[in-house]
């Protein structure tokens, strides 16, 4: 069974970490990640850019609505995610619209990825 582990934290607080503290946390995480990689158990890892860089596509309407900022509804739940390659936000939104046409309703939050490691799980 594959499991996704979704990371939640107070963004303002993580943003207030000093560079040294941030580096130290990343280093400690790398130790755990390296162990999992050696065991062939680590899939893609991503650190997302802050929510200030996020855009949300509400896809219940036609055409879908593009909103600045992160997904903010509490009555909907996170059901899945994609990692895509796109040349800019317009391009990424185009992909999201395409996906939305196939599955209208709900929202996609589009967040640039800061750090990405593809992982080592054999499918």
């Amino acid at each position: 069974m594959l499991y996704a582990i979704l990371c939640y934290h107070d963004e303002a607080m993580v943003g207030s970490w000093s560079k040294d503290h941030d580096d130290a946390v990343m280093e400690k995480l790398a130790v755990v990640q390296d162990k999992l990689t050696r065991q062939g158990r680590l899939g893609p890892v991503a650190r997302l850019l802050p929510t200030t860089a996020a855009t949300t596509l509400r896809k219940e309407g036609d055409p879908p609505l593009v909103l600045d900022g992160p997904f903010a509804e509490t009555k909907e739940q996170l059901l899945g995610f994609y990692i895509i390659e796109a040349k800019d936000l317009d391009d990424a939104l185009e992909v999201a619209r395409d996906l939305g046409r196939a599955n209208p309703g709900g929202s996609y939050e589009i967040r640039p990825v800061g750090v990405f490691r593809p992982g080592s799980i054999a499918s």
């Binding site: 503290h21 200030t52 936000l89």
Partner: protein, 426 residues
């Protein structure tokens, strides 16, 4: 040991990030900056005492607001025994405050409290220097000593500047209601300008003052992020944050080991901060989709074009020149024209650039950069005597030793070349 250290770092980060909201909420209760600040200070002391033992509260900000409010009420009661006692439930034991927090941090309060705090610091009656000092003290929570150091003034002078600002704000009948749309957008522009000034104070540091002043850049970025979270759809605020990130990304490459200036073309681009650039690019990309241009966005777009060139020769100077042209229309200033001239020199050559800046001579005669750019253009045109004259003027106006050293380098090169020329002649 390292665990304890990282726990304390966690508390530090929590106190820093909770500050704007907590002080903003306390200001709403007490309607007095000093009381709000003192109350928050007390709450922090309490946190430093209890959090390491009891662990962090689930909602640190709410905890700090509650404890701060109770301490403020206690203080007020001690100061004025005749004052009416506050309701019993508000002064009850704070240790288990977290469970029964009346003040759940709902979205609208969050926004209004922080906005009010920022708007007060950027009150139109305060001169810019006081706005900056007040914001760094009240919103960012830097100590007076830290701010004084960053602005290269004595602690006493900075203390006085902040006290004056607070007194002016107290007198200025600050509205505690949320401002209307028009006023809000005016005030928003004032807050953005204040943040940009804070950044520039840090960014213009050189030599020995870098270590003390550079943190102002981080602080400005944090404030810009805070502002963008409050106004997630404002393209100019996206532009502001983008601009600060893209500029700050180059901070590590701007000076050599001896503190000498390294110009953009000569910087080691591998030393630019890539995550910062990625975030800055994502933000300007997002802002431009609104098709509502403004000076911060244009400047960010210029910075983005520099950042996306892997090598100086790949820089899209034509596009940069166009952007400076836009900026000239939005924000006409001889300094902007001077910057455009640098782009013009790359696209059309030094003569066209020189023609563009000669009319500015009178207005920019006291500006270091004008003579530096003019000297460099004259040099490219082979007009060495005039170039040396311009460089001499630049040195006389240099604000920092690094600036002077940079120009001196040009002059030395000129002298060396003319000596080599003489030798060739003889």
């Amino acid at each position: 040991m390292s665990n304890i250290a990282s726990d304390l770092a966690w508390i530090d980060a929590a106190l820093i990030s909770a500050r704007p909201q907590a002080v903003g909420a306390l200001l709403r209760y007490f309607r007095d900056l000093d009381l709000a600040e003192e109350a928050y200070q007390n709450a922090c002391l309490r946190a430093l005492k209890t959090w390491p033992q009891n662990g962090p509260p689930r909602d640190a900000t709410a905890w700090l607001i509650m404890v701060g409010r109770n301490s403020g009420i206690d203080d007020a009661r001690r100061r004025n025994r005749l004052a009416e006692l506050p309701p019993e439930d508000a002064i009850s034991d704070t240790d288990d405050a977290e469970g029964e927090i009346a003040e759940r941090l709902d979205g609208s309060h969050y926004r209004d409290d922080i906005l009010r705090l920022l708007f007060i610091c950027c009150h139109p009656q305060l001169p810019a220097t006081q706005q900056i000092a007040l914001a760094l003290r009240i919103v960012s929570g830097l100590t007076v000593k830290q701010i004084a150091r960053a602005f290269l003034v004595s602690e006493a002078a900075m203390e006085q500047r902040i006290t004056r600002a607070k007194a002016a704000v107290a007198k200025a009948d600050v509205p505690f209601e949320t401002p209307g749309a028009v006023e809000r957008s005016e005030r928003l522009a004032a807050v953005a300008a204040m943040i940009y000034l804070v950044f520039n104070e840090g960014y213009s540091a050189s030599g020995d003052s870098i270590a003390e002043r550079a943190p102002l850049c981080d602080e400005a970025i944090r404030l810009a992020r805070l502002l963008l979270r409050l106004f997630p759809s404002e393209p100019e605020i996206m532009g502001l944050l983008s601009l600060l990130l893209l500029q700050n990304a180059r901070a590590g490459a701007r000076y050599d080991a001896d503190g000498g200036i390294v110009l953009l073309d000569d910087q080691d681009r591998s030393r630019w901060n890539k995550p910062m650039i990625a975030e800055g690019m994502a933000l300007i990309d997002k802002a431009m989709r609104h098709q509502s241009s403004g000076p911060y966005q244009v400047q960010a777009a210029i910075a983005a074009l520099h950042s996306s060139a892997a090598h100086p020769s790949e820089t899209d100077w034509t596009q940069i020149e166009l952007l400076y042209r836009t900026l000239e229309m939005q924000q006409p200033s001889p300094v902007v024209t001077l910057n455009r001239a640098v782009a013009v020199s790359k696209v059309q050559g030094p003569q066209a650039a020189l023609d563009l800046i000669e009319p500015l001579a009178k207005r920019l005669s006291g500006y270091f950069n004008f003579h530096g750019v003019r000297g460099a253009l004259l040099l490219q045109l082979g007009r060495c005597d005039e170039a040396r004259c311009a460089f001499d003027q630049a040195i006389a106006l240099a604000g920092t030793t690094a600036e002077a050293a940079h120009i001196r380098m040009h002059i030395d090169r000129l002298k060396a070349e003319s000596r080599a020329g003489e030798r060739q002649v003889t």
